[in-house]
């Protein structure tokens, strides 16, 4: 075990894969963003820079090239940058990567990991702040993952890179600097396994990606009030580990969902629906959903802040369920 940043754990997983498989290639640069963590990729780029291809600004064809290369026998990593740009390749993700295996009757495999940064980033405004995880999950044939801790990202990215299916990794740049213990050895965390990030007994908070950080902070606030919150991180949206989530809801009888995306048809709504369907008898209170307000993201800092859930708003919602 070594304490590392999330950014360093990403590099661990990628360099492991570059070393292990000469047919592993990456398209796109700036995989650790431009906020200071890119320095962790220097050694990686020095050793494996020639395995990276710098594409033109053409997200559709870039995605297609990754998909076609994967079909031809390579394993591919395609970096989109901001998730908003991935909408330029939406058709390629859904109508090409997602369907090829099934539609070919199992003949074709598409081992690609697509990587993008979603969410509120400070000044991203209406066109650089998209959180498309709910939209992505509303399709078949695409694994959707959102690891949140350094340990998770190493294990899940390793699993994703070895997976024979397309994986869409909807990342958040606010996670890059998070530190935590990361096993030194190679390991994989199976895609489709949730994790209880904090155990509790009174209320379950299901959150993904950066919202897990808000949820953990909310749990601290609630603890001071004597409310014991359990924070469940699905980690993979598709396929979903319903079991871990439902077990927690059955235990606490209360559910708060937190999502950085717009609420309508969001992943938070999916979890709330799951509870209503499969844990109805256990629910002692209405489900509470927190999500980004349904507006294009406004630029002005106080407005951008106001539209997002926060540890405080989560704590308030959870507290309300206790009465």
């Amino acid at each position: 075990m070594t304490v590392k940043t999330y950014a360093e754990a990403v590099v661990d997983a990628l360099s492991g894969m570059f070393r292990a498989d000469p047919n592993f290639h990456a398209i796109g640069r700036g995989i650790l963003g431009h906020g200071g963590h890119e320095r962790h990729a220097h050694a990686l780029m020095k050793e494996f820079g020639h395995r990276f291809t710098d594409p033109p600004t053409a997200e559709g064809a870039t995605a297609s090239m990754g998909i076609g290369a994967a079909m031809s026998g390579c394993r591919m990593f395609v970096h989109f940058g901001t998730a908003s740009f991935s909408l330029e390749a939406w058709n390629q993700l859904i109508n090409e990567a997602g369907v090829a295996h099934s539609m070919s009757g199992g003949q074709i495999r598409v081992p690609v990991v697509f990587h993008m940064y979603h969410g509120l980033r400070g000044g991203g405004s209406g066109q650089h702040s998209t959180s498309p995880q709910g939209m992505m999950a509303n399709n078949a044939g695409l694994i959707v993952m959102q690891p949140t801790s350094p340990r998770d990202v190493k294990g899940m990215l390793r699993a994703a890179l070895k997976c024979d299916n397309p994986v869409v990794w909807i990342d958040h740049s606010a996670l890059l600097g998070r530190t935590g213990e990361v096993p030194d050895e190679d390991y994989e965390i199976p895609l489709g396994s949730a994790e209880v990030k904090r155990a509790g007994t009174d209320v379950t908070i299901v959150a993904t990606s950066r919202a897990v950080l808000w949820a953990l902070d909310a749990a601290e606030i609630l603890a001071k009030d004597g409310i014991s919150a359990e924070v469940v991180d699905p980690r993979t949206l598709v396929p979903l580990d319903e079991n871990t989530i439902l077990t927690s809801i059955r235990k606490t009888g209360r559910l708060v969902t937190v999502d950085e995306a717009i609420q309508t048809c969001s992943f938070g709504s999916e979890i709330a629906a799951l509870a209503a369907e499969k844990a109805h008898d256990a629910l002692k209170a209405p489900v509470a959903r927190l999500a980004r307000a349904a507006t294009p993201v406004p630029f002005s800092p106080p407005l951008e802040k106001a539209i997002a859930p926060s540890p405080e708003s989560i704590a308030i919602a959870a507290r309300r369920l206790m009465n």
């Binding site: 033109p56 076609g68 031809s72 390579c74």
Partner: protein
Amino acid sequence: MAETPKAAERIALFERMLLVRRFEEEVLRVAQAHAYVGRQHLHIGHEATGAAVASVLGPEDLFHTTHRNHGYLIARGADPGRALAEIMGRKDGLNSGRGGPWHLCDRAAGFQSTSAMVGGSVGLAVGAGFGLKKQGKTAIGVAHFGDGTLDEGICFESFNLASILQLPVLFLCENNAKEGQRPSSMLAARALRDLPAALQIETVVVDGRDADAVRDAAADAVAFIRAGKGPVFLQAQLERWPGSHQTRPEFPTGVTDLTLAWDRDRISGTHADWIRDHDGILLYAAKLVAEKAVSRDDILAVDGRVTSRIQAARAFAEDSPFPDAASAADGVFA
């Protein structure tokens, strides 16, 4: 230029294209018998191009096709029985019934995903070229697509990528736009090739009715690409088969009568022009006979062989059951 091929090679090429024609006619017959076959985009009228290109590719070359894909599968050796079964949604279909007519796939015959999204095949084939190059193989990626495809931005982007990265990709464009009709393509260029040419891609235009010409042009293009000189845009000029726009299949040109190849006076009817001037199969049969490369009987003997293969294929497809409904959601992930 490739050497003039032997008669045996030419008759083999003729057999390849006739197999496609008889296959597509069988698809229409099945549809007329009200068996379910989805919506059809047949390769009738394109066979000379498809078979000729298929004849110069190796089994390692990776092909991405469009909605108009049957011809390529059959010409490259996919089993006609399993292909027809797929078109009919049967269990023994190439894709186990999950793909249907727009998406025939036979990995063993070098076919990757077939995309019915206009432009889809182009981007994927560029990926195949990228992957094959990275794997150090001499195989190439092939994108088959129609003239209308050049309108899509993904097609332009993919040309650009292939050119920048000098990828081993053959862009095979079947231009079936008929003068005077609304073409599939609305490209503002003077000629389709102007777009790839502007992106510094080598371009070749060939008469797509002339199987020998297509074979030679394709052989040259493939040699160029395998030599690492970058992608080639090969455009085959064709004229859309009069039956190709029907939502409900018909035989506007009738079942192909090979004797018309040498009995040209008997060509008649509304679509006589197309049959006389644009049917690459009749043109090739006529040429082979005229050049005495083969006899009329050789031609008819080929037809006999082909027709019985297709009959067997139909029997196979019709015998195949529909997949079990309980399996409907299986096989989503590898």
